[in-house]
C-alpha cells in the first residue's frame, strides 16, 4: 500500500493560493479545481489527499493526526498552541494582531482594562507580559463594535488593511505580533513520512519570496 500524505487546507482565497503552491511543488490534484461539493480530493499518482476545512480547524486536524500536514495562520497557532511542528513561514495572508480602539481613546492605567477579542489566550499573554490587569470579553465576531458601544475599552484583533477600523472611526494603538500562514505538521507523521514532508517543505520554501 502506498503512503498517502493527508493535507488540510484552509477554505477560502488563502487556501486556493496555498494549493497553487503545492501544485507547483509537484503535488497536483486536478480534481480539486472541479466545481463540485466533494470534500476530499485524491491523486494516487502523487500520493496526496487534500481536504478543505475551516481555517481555524486546520491545526486541530493536524494535531490529532487526521491530517499529516496543513496550512494555518500564526494567529490560530498562537491562540490554541497546538502540539505540532511549525515548518515554514509561507509569507502569505499577511496581517498583524493589534490592539485598537476609538481614535480618541486614552489608556487609563488606574483601571482594569476591558479587552474584547476572539483571541483570549494571545490577549491574556500579551497583557500579562505588561503586567496589566485586564477583563477579557470573549466575542466570536464583529469585534470592532465593542468599543463603540462601550462594551470594552479596546479590542485585540487581526488587522489587514485597517479599512474596517477607519470606517468605524477606530485606530490601531499597538501591534502585538505579525501574522502569516505557516506550514504545520503532525509530530508523529513527521517521523514516519519524513522524506515526503521534507520534500514538500523544501519545494514550498523555494516559492516563498520574502518581501518585508
Amino acid at each position: 500500500m502506498k503512503d498517502f500524505i493527508n493535507i488540510a487546507l484552509p477554505k477560502g482565497r488563502l487556501g486556493e493560493k496555498v494549493y497553487d503552491m503545492f501544485e507547483r511543488a509537484g503535488y497536483p490534484c486536478p480534481s480539486i479545481r472541479e466545481n463540485n461539493r466533494k470534500l476530499i480530493f485524491e491523486n494516487s499518482d502523487a500520493c496526496v489527499r487534500y481536504f478543505w476545512v475551516k481555517p481555524s480547524d486546520v491545526a486541530i486536524y493536524v494535531e490529532r493526526g487526521a491530517a499529516d500536514i496543513g496550512v494555518a495562520g500564526k494567529d490560530i497557532l498562537l491562540e490554541y498552541e497546538p502540539d505540532i511542528y511549525e515548518l515554514l513561514d509561507l509569507d502569505l495572508g499577511k496581517c498583524r494582531m493589534a490592539v485598537a480602539s476609538k481614535s480618541d481613546f486614552r489608556d487609563n492605567t488606574d483601571k482594569t482594562l476591558r479587552v474584547a477579542t476572539k483571541f483570549v489566550n494571545i490577549t491574556k499573554k500579551y497583557y500579562a507580559g505588561k503586567s496589566r490587569e485586564i477583563d477579557v470579553v470573549k466575542l466570536n465576531g464583529s469585534i470592532e463594535i465593542a468599543p463603540i458601544l462601550g462594551l470594552s475599552d479596546v479590542i485585540v484583533d487581526i488587522v489587514e488593511t485597517g479599512t474596517t477600523l477607519k470606517e468605524n472611526n477606530l485606530k490601531v494603538f499597538e501591534t502585538i505580533v505579525p501574522i502569516s500562514a505557516r506550514l504545520i505538521a503532525n509530530k508523529s507523521s513527521y517521523k514516519f513520512k519524513a522524506d515526503k514532508i521534507a520534500d514538500i517543505r523544501e519545494k514550498l520554501s523555494k516559492q516563498v519570496i520574502k518581501n518585508d
Binding site: 494535531e63 490529532r64 493526526g65 487526521a66 502540539d83 505540532i84 511542528y85 511549525e86 515548518l87 515554514l88 513561514d89 503532525n186 509530530k187 508523529s188 507523521s189 517521523k191 514516519f192
Partner: protein
C-alpha cells in the same frame, strides 16, 4: 489461572508485556496510593504537564491531591545510596486535557532509575524505552536529544528569550527563531543547525561534528557519542533517532531526553530523560533517569472490531431441563466457543451459529 490474550484489550496486553519486560531487567514494581500531599506539587509546579490538580481535604483537614504525576512521588520516597534503585510503576494519573478543559484519568506506566547513574544505566533505560515501544508496534521511532547540549548553546541568553527560543526549537520553527535572534542580537546559526540535525546514529555523527559548539558543550557531546556508539549495536538502531528539537524543561532535565512515537498515534506516547536537576531541587544528591508510557491512546489503536458478538447463540425455554442447558453451555465453552444463552434472539446481535436446545 490461565489468561487468553484474545480476551484482553490492547492496553491490557501492553501493560502485561511491559511489566514482564521491566521485571526481566530487574526493575521492581512500585505500588502507590492515588493520593499525595498537595504540598509536593506546589513546590514543583513547573514540572507538571498541566497546572490544575484535583484537590480535596482528608479527614484531618489536610489538603490532598489526586496524583497528576508519579515521578515526584517516587523521588520523594527515594533515599540517597551508593547503588542504583530500579523501579517501575503502573498507575492512573489525573490531568486536565488541553482540548476539552476537563479532568481525564490517564493510565501511565514507566520506570525510574535512581542513584549513581552511569553510562550503562542511561543506555539500559534508552534501550528499554525502545523495547517498550516495540512491544506496542514495530513501527516506532525513539527520538533522543540532550538538554546539556542545548543549554550550553543557549547559555549566554537571558531567561525570557530562552523560553521563547526553546518553544521555537520544539516546533522546528526556524523562521521565527531567526527573526527573534536577530531582534535580540543573538547568533542563531548554531541553534538552527542543531535543530536541523536529525536521523539515525550513523546519519547524525558527521552533522554534529560540523557544528561549531561552544567549549561548554564538550561533556554533552562526548556523552552523546558514547551513547550513540553503544546504541549502534542494539537491534532497534534504525528506529532510534537523534532529534535535537526534543526539549524538556531546562530547570529539571540535565542530560539525555527522549520521546517515543508510534505510527498511527498522533502524539508522542513515551517521554523521559535524565532529571538530576529535579532530584537536586528536591534535596537529593543522586542522579536519576526514567520515562513514562501513556497508555490512554492505545484504546483506539489497533482496535479490532470483532466479526461476531458470540460464536454460538443457544436458545432455550423455561420448560427445558435447565440443568441440562447449563451443562450444554459448559461443554460448548470448554470446546473453546463463546456461548450466549438466551430465550429469544437479542436485537442486533451477530452470531456465528444458532442452536436450539432440544
Amino acid at each position: 489461572m490461565k489468561l487468553k490474550s484474545e480476551y484482553m484489550r490492547t492496553e491490557e496486553k501492553v501493560i502485561f508485556a511491559l511489566r514482564e519486560l521491566y521485571s526481566k531487567y530487574g526493575y521492581a514494581q512500585f505500588k502507590m496510593s492515588k493520593f499525595e500531599e498537595y504540598d509536593l506539587y506546589v513546590k514543583n509546579k513547573d514540572f507538571l504537564v498541566s497546572d490544575s490538580v484535583i484537590t480535596f481535604n482528608d479527614t484531618n483537614g489536610k489538603l490532598l491531591a489526586l496524583k497528576p504525576d508519579v515521578t515526584l512521588s517516587i523521588i520523594k520516597n527515594s533515599t540517597d545510596s551508593s547503588g542504583v534503585q530500579k523501579l517501575y510503576y503502573n498507575e492512573n494519573v489525573y490531568r486536565v486535557s488541553k482540548n476539552t478543559h476537563s479532568f481525564k484519568e490517564i493510565m501511565q506506566t514507566g520506570l525510574e532509575c535512581i542513584g549513581n547513574i552511569g553510562t550503562y544505566n542511561i543506555c539500559e533505560v534508552v534501550t528499554l524505552a525502545a523495547k517498550s515501544l516495540s512491544a506496542i508496534s514495530d513501527k516506532f521511532v525513539l527520538d533522543i536529544s540532550h538538554m546539556g547540549l542545548i543549554s550550553s548553546v543557549l547559555a549566554e541568553i537571558n531567561d525570557d528569550v530562552k523560553t521563547q527560543i526553546l518553544k521555537f526549537i520544539s516546533e522546528k520553527n526556524t523562521h521565527d527563531l531567526i527573526s527573534l535572534c536577530d531582534n535580540e542580537g543573538v547568533d542563531s546559526k548554531t541553534i538552527v543547525s542543531l535543530i536541523n540535525v536529525n536521523g539515525t546514529v550513523d546519519e547524525i555523527k558527521e552533522k554534529l561534528l560540523a557544528i561549531p559548539f561552544p567549549e561548554s558543550a564538550a561533556d554533552a557531546l562526548e556523552e552523546i557519542f558514547t551513547i550513540a556508539n553503544i546504541l549502534e549495536n542494539t537491534q532497534d538502531k534504525d528506529k532510534i533517532h537523534f532529534d535535537f528539537s526534543i526539549v524538556n524543561d531546562m530547570n529539571y532535565y540535565s542530560g539525555i531526553v527522549f520521546k517515543g512515537y508510534i505510527e498511527g498515534i498522533p502524539t508522542g506516547i513515551l517521554s523521559g530523560g535524565r532529571y538530576d536537576l529535579l532530584m537536586n531541587k528536591m534535596g537529593k544528591k543522586s542522579g536519576a533517569i526514567g520515562f513514562a508510557v501513556y497508555l490512554d491512546f492505545l484504546e483506539r489503536f489497533m482496535e479490532e472490531t470483532k466479526e461476531y458478538d458470540t460464536d454460538i447463540l443457544l436458545l432455550y425455554n423455561d420448560t427445558d431441563k435447565l440443568a441440562e442447558v447449563l451443562k450444554t453451555v459448559d461443554t460448548l465453552t470448554t470446546q473453546g466457543n463463546r456461548v450466549l444463552a438466551e430465550k429469544t434472539v437479542p436485537e442486533g446481535l451477530k452470531y456465528k451459529t444458532l442452536l436450539r436446545f432440544e
